[in-house]
């Protein structure tokens, strides 16, 4: 049996999950912005829903070696042009090629790397908002 404090904590987390959040992008959309803002490009939006219609998870996360961590692969254009990560498919063969800059770099600038609608991102945004409110 779990202790009462833990139970209240889980309930607290769940109530955070229930609070509406500002961004309502499609579930599983990943915003990748390790370098884009600094380089003056829009950050990258990677839509899981679009790709999982066409590929099983294993294709990217096992065969192509994408780590399951938003921003965790340190993707950059050099690697992509070399045929790694997005470039394993966006090479003009499996999918359209890398010169279509604007189709990958579509995010609103200034947003942190994150998975949208994810439990973890909801928890952090809500906590940050709560902290901001309590400072005012």
């Amino acid at each position: 049996m779990f202790k009462n404090g833990k139970c209240i904590f889980i309930a607290f987390i769940l109530s955070l999950l229930a609070t509406p959040i500002m961004v309502a992008a499609e579930y599983g959309d990943v915003l990748i912005n390790n370098y884009s803002d600094e380089a003056g490009m829009r950050p990258v939006v990677f839509p899981h829903w679009f790709h999982r219609i066409r590929f099983r998870c294993k294709v990217c996360h096992a065969d192509l070696g994408f780590k399951m961590e938003a921003g965790g692969n340190q993707i950059n254009m050099l690697k992509i042009i070399d045929g790694e990560y997005c470039g394993a498919c966006h090479n003009g063969e499996v999918a359209w090629a890398v010169e279509n800059c604007d189709i990958c770099h579509t995010g609103k600038p200034g947003q942190p790397t994150q998975v949208h609608q994810s439990t973890a991102s909801k928890l952090t945004t809500t906590t940050k908002r709560k902290q901001a409110e309590s400072v005012e």
Binding site: M1, A24, D29, R52, V59, D63
Partner: protein, 183 residues
């Protein structure tokens, strides 16, 4: 005991109410994530135009991805590199450390239809029954099942999809089940 259960039920019913209030998909312009001035708006596919054609669900992408795959609505590729293959394993595991809640049934089959063994073993789970100190706090923080559920696979608000086996109806032994029920 009653008090404890109401602690779960209150926030959950709130989240269900919110989910129920949004049966449709946002357009890319209003999703808050895409830059509305991006030249790709109008070129990118809108979620609704693809997802509304797939078997519905009440949460996540509002698509039952398992049905979409099994019933042939989608045929996602299993490989890019020619030498790799897909290995589906039909093995259910019952987990019993769930406090008072229903037991957790982890089905390998629907997972291995999408994923490779190496996605979970041994990165997320040691390949042995009961060898992983899983608990709900860790899951909600994005570990164990929460690495995928709550990010890409159906969200963590769906308690009873994992906690699916009532304690009172279960007479077998926890761990690997002799007969798989997930098909």
């Amino acid at each position: 005991m009653k008090f404890k259960h109401s602690l779960y039920i209150l926030p959950l019913s709130l989240s269900f109410a919110l989910l129920a209030a949004e049966p449709s998909w946002r357009t890319l312009v209003e999703d808050g994530l895409h830059d509305p001035t991006s030249p790709a708006i109008g070129v990118l596919q809108e979620p609704a135009s693809a997802l509304s054609l797939l078997p519905p669900d009440t949460t996540g992408n509002q698509v039952s991805w398992i049905r979409a795959l099994r019933e042939g609505y989608i045929e996602p590729r299993t490989n890019i590199l020619p030498e790799t293959k897909i290995e589906v394993l039909d093995m259910d595991i019952i987990m019993e450390k769930t406090g008072e809640l229903s037991l957790v049934m982890f089905p390998h089959k629907p997972h291995t239809e999408w994923l490779d063994c190496a996605n979970c073993h041994d990165k997320i789970f040691v390949e042995k029954v009961d060898a992983n100190p899983i608990n709900m706090f860790a899951i909600l923080s994005g570990e164990y099942c929460g690495q995928c559920h709550g990010a890409v696979a159906f969200p963590l608000t769906e308690c009873n999809r994992c906690h699916s086996v009532a304690r009172s109806s279960f007479t077998g032994k926890p761990g690997v089940q002799p007969i798989s029920v997930s098909d």
